[in-house]
């Protein structure tokens, strides 16, 4: 994970977030499933680590104070999600 490219790190973030979105929907209708809840909390902590690393090295992912802009106001910078890269 130390030498990961921006694209590689972004792919990992996307995979964790997809997993967590799907688990979130499952937990909405199965709130008593403690195993799913344990998975959710564990993956959520790992996602936070991955995002913090991405944000520090490559720029903010989120708006409204949820990402620190470490190197100037990088939020404006391309690529935006719909740019062909």
């Amino acid at each position: 994970m130390n030498n990961m490219t921006a694209a590689g790190l972004m792919q990992q973030i996307a995979e964790y977030e997809f997993l967590l979105a799907d688990l979130n929907l499952y937990l909405d209708t199965h709130p008593s499933d403690t195993r799913a809840l344990g998975d959710y909390n564990s993956y959520a902590a790992q996602l936070r680590t991955l995002k913090d690393k991405y944000i520090r090295e490559y720029g903010p992912l989120e708006n409204f104070g949820n990402s620190i802009n470490f190197n100037g106001w990088q939020y404006n910078d391309r690529p935006w999600p719909w740019d062909i890269v």
Binding site: M10, I13, A14, E17, F18, A21, D22, N24, L25, Y26, D28, T29, H30, P31, P60, L61, E62, N63, F64, N66, Y75, W80, P81, W82, I84, V85
Partner: protein, 183 residues
């Protein structure tokens, strides 16, 4: 409130311009069973739901539909990137070019503007969730139609992702209906 995350839910990278598919994709952008209809419907229904679980599932699926809407808009934008004015004309899309250039806009694949009349909010929890289950099945069918009409893997791959999400949403709404009926 909502927070924005500057990435697509699932990657989209269409490098072959495709006017025909751009127009067809409008169906899932802002047609009757589109992502826009789903997002507005679910986020509107949640306010009067008595059960926390049903408020949660409507909030979260509604939010995911907004992310799907962004994916479809990205696909349309990429399909139109690099097309000349002549390409629009040749595809019978001179009207799109005149009114919107290369921008997506909230209408269906026949050009009919999106309307709130597509949405359902009866105020009856079971009636709403049953309508949502039907909407997810309609959306799945629409994605299957779009996949069968395209031969570019860069288009069919994200469409297949979206198709599979509609199946998961249908499942979760079925469970939400059980929760509504048990309460």
């Amino acid at each position: 409130m909502w927070l924005y995350e500057k990435r697509l839910l699932y990657p989209v990278s269409i490098t072959r311009p495709n006017a025909r598919m751009a127009r067809l994709l409008l169906e899932q952008y802002a047609g009757g069973a589109s992502e826009l209809t789903a997002a507005v419907t679910y986020l509107n229904q949640r306010y009067t739901m008595p059960e926390g679980a049903v408020r949660a599932i409507l909030t979260d699926i509604g939010t995911e539909e907004l992310a799907h809407l962004e994916m479809v808009a990205g696909m349309i934008t990429q399909c139109l990137a690099g097309l000349s004015q002549q390409d629009f004309k040749a595809a019978g899309m001179g009207g799109w070019y005149a009114a919107h250039r290369r921008s997506p806009f909230p209408a269906d694949s026949s050009g009919v503007p999106w309307t709130a009349a597509y949405t359902v909010s009866s105020g009856d929890p079971a009636a709403d969730i049953i309508a949502d289950m039907a909407a997810e099945q309609q959306a799945r069918t629409a994605y299957e139609g779009l996949i069968s009409l395209s031969d570019d893997a860069a288009i069919t791959d994200p469409l297949d992702f979206l198709r599979q999400r509609e199946i998961v949403h249908y499942q979760r709404f079925g469970e939400a209906l059980d929760i509504v009926r048990a309460s």
